[in-house]
């Protein structure tokens, strides 16, 4: 995932960090190539070892830690917007829920194809219930 930046003055910079701006699928997280630490939200360096090389991997099954139903949402977001904080073997994220009945402790995985915000060109998965133990 390392990249090479080019500044507008034509001076090339060496690879020095993980790309922040490359699109990453909703259901993928990062793994540090040096120490194996995993995380979800893009950052230039590993939070543990400051390594600057990482790969992405697909999230499997996680467990809901907390849920909320947001009634007052931005104009381009569904209302209500059911959201869940989920842990995927220690990697935490917040995402839209596909099922109103999901609650803390439920096993979830990304599934389906949904428009998360009005105007989105790409359909993406929401967290939905799955059978089995959280990963």
């Amino acid at each position: 995932m390392s990249d090479s930046d080019s500044s507008t003055d034509g001076v090339d910079r060496p690879d020095d960090g993980i790309a922040l701006d490359e699109p990453v699928a909703v259901d993928r997280a990062f793994r540090c190539a040096d120490c194996g630490r995993r995380w979800y939200y893009q950052r230039r360096r590993c939070p543990d070892c400051s390594g600057t090389d990482a790969t992405t991997y697909g999230l499997g099954t996680g467990e809901l830690v907390a849920v909320t139903r947001v009634e007052m949402t931005p104009p381009d977001v569904r209302s209500p917007n059911r959201l869940g904080l989920a842990s995927f073997d220690g990697v935490r994220l917040i995402a839209q829920l596909a099922d109103e009945a999901l609650s803390p402790g439920d096993a979830v995985a990304f599934a389906g194809a949904h428009r998360l915000r009005d105007g989105d060109e790409v359909l993406r998965p929401r967290l939905d219930a799955v059978d089995g133990d959280p990963g």
Binding site: Y40, Y41, T68, R69, P74, L83, R92, I94, P104, R117
Partner: protein, 398 residues
């Protein structure tokens, strides 16, 4: 301990829709703060203007320069400070830094005029603070509040009334505050019956959108005053002109993405900034007589009180229900009504916390507005950006 003194304070009334422009609000607060100080306009060396949403809402850009001209103090050094919801406290700290470095007098002003835009526009602008991957999911700050509130109640087996009790207390404190946006009491039942914003948070768990401004005159302890009514800083009793010392000012960032935190109830920036502020002031939580806590959502008041060490984890809700944080409690919290009832004009909020604590320390307020017992000697304020992205703490002493 710093060399900076709060030599004058002033603010406008916080309200849902002000007739004044943002520069008009800022100028009024500045004039009140200077009038409250022993300093004259000519004494001011720098102006630090806090404003968070000018570009997003289309209010006056370059507010520091516009305000300097409006006040007739062109020639001073100016800058604008922006740190989302913690803009006010960060502007205060910029002023402290300026007088510690330059030895003079700084004017700090924070202002916001949120009524210029539709609620959805303001919500969208504030919602843009979140990480891009959070933004994709439609997350807003109340979303984080709802998730944290649900987790807090579940983990600590706390009743929903515990959150409503925070709102009731802060509304009660604002009734006698002539500068507050909401000057009416609410009952726990009213809070529980208000519309859902982000379950379990309801309307009365959330701060409003507000127009308003607040200002401080910050002076180096050795700065001479040339004002007409200049009075010595150490002039005996706590008259209106007696300054309050900034014992410490400290900030810290936490994770940008809220889910990156190891615990959904953790506010690492609050804990770190608080530890730094207490250490620099040479005090601990037990030494604090009165506190202003960033209660953008009721659950935040509880979480921050615990992260800062005022209460053990999972116990702030019981203390609130028992009245320990009320105006006549052991630790009065948000005696002016907090963000919940005084209001939350982003650029001004952190400064209004300092104004409130200065009034409390100086004993300027009428009996029904003052915390119980002797005038407080030590006060603590925390102003938080985002949902714990960044926290800015200030300790004041008599």
């Amino acid at each position: 301990m710093t060399d900076a003194l709060i030599a004058g304070v002033g603010m406008t009334r916080f309200e849902g829709e002000s007739e004044r422009s943002i520069v008009g609000l800022a100028a009024l607060a500045a004039e009140r703060a200077v009038a409250d100080s022993p300093y004259a306009w000519d004494d001011i060396a720098s102006l630090h203007a806090g404003n968070a949403l000018a570009e997003a809402l289309g209010t006056q850009a370059g507010i520091a320069n516009a305000l300097a001209a409006a006040l007739g103090i062109e020639g001073v050094a100016t800058d604008r400070v922006e740190n989302t919801s913690a803009t006010g406290a960060s502007a205060c700290h910029r002023g402290v830094d300026a007088v510690e470095r330059g030895g003079g007098v700084a004017l700090v002003v924070g202002a916001e005029k949120m009524s210029v835009a539709e609620t959805s526009t303001v919500t969208g602008a504030i919602g843009r603070l979140v990480h891009d991957r959070e933004y994709d999911q439609g997350l807003t700050l109340p979303s984080f509040g709802g998730l944290a509130a649900g987790a807090y109640l579940d983990r600590h087996d706390a009743p929903r009334e515990a959150l409503a009790a925070v709102a009731r207390k802060n509304h009660r404190n604002a009734v006698e505050n002539e500068f507050a946006q909401f000057r009416k009491e609410i009952s726990v039942d009213e809070a529980l019956d208000s519309p859902i914003v982000a379950d379990p948070l309801r309307l009365y768990d959330c701060c409003p959108m507000t127009d308003g401004a607040a200002a401080l005159v910050i002076a180096h302890e050795d700065a001479p005053a040339s004002g007409d009514d200049a009075r010595p800083h150490d002039g005996g009793d706590r008259s209106r002109s007696n300054p309050v010392r900034v014992a410490s000012a400290a900030g810290a960032t936490g994770s940008h993405a809220v889910a990156d935190r190891p615990d959904p109830l953790a506010l690492e920036s609050v804990r770190t900034a608080g530890e730094r502020a207490f250490a620099a002031a040479g005090i601990g939580p037990d030494d604090v007589d009165v506190a202003c806590i960033h209660d953008a959502f009721t659950v935040l008041e509880l979480l921050e009180l615990e992260e800062l060490g005022f209460y053990d984890p999972g116990t702030a809700w019981e203390a609130t229900l028992d009245g320990e944080t009320a105006l006549d409690g052991e630790l009065p919290v948000n005696p002016g009504g907090g963000l919940k009832a005084r209001g939350h004009p982003l650029g001004a909020t952190g400064i209004s916390q300092i104004v409130e604590l200065v009034w409390q320390i100086r004993g300027d307020l009428p009996p029904e507005r003052r915390v119980a017992g002797p005038d407080p000697e030590t006060a603590f304020a925390i102003n938080v950006a985002g949902f714990g992205n960044n926290s800015v703490c200030t300790v004041l002493t008599a």
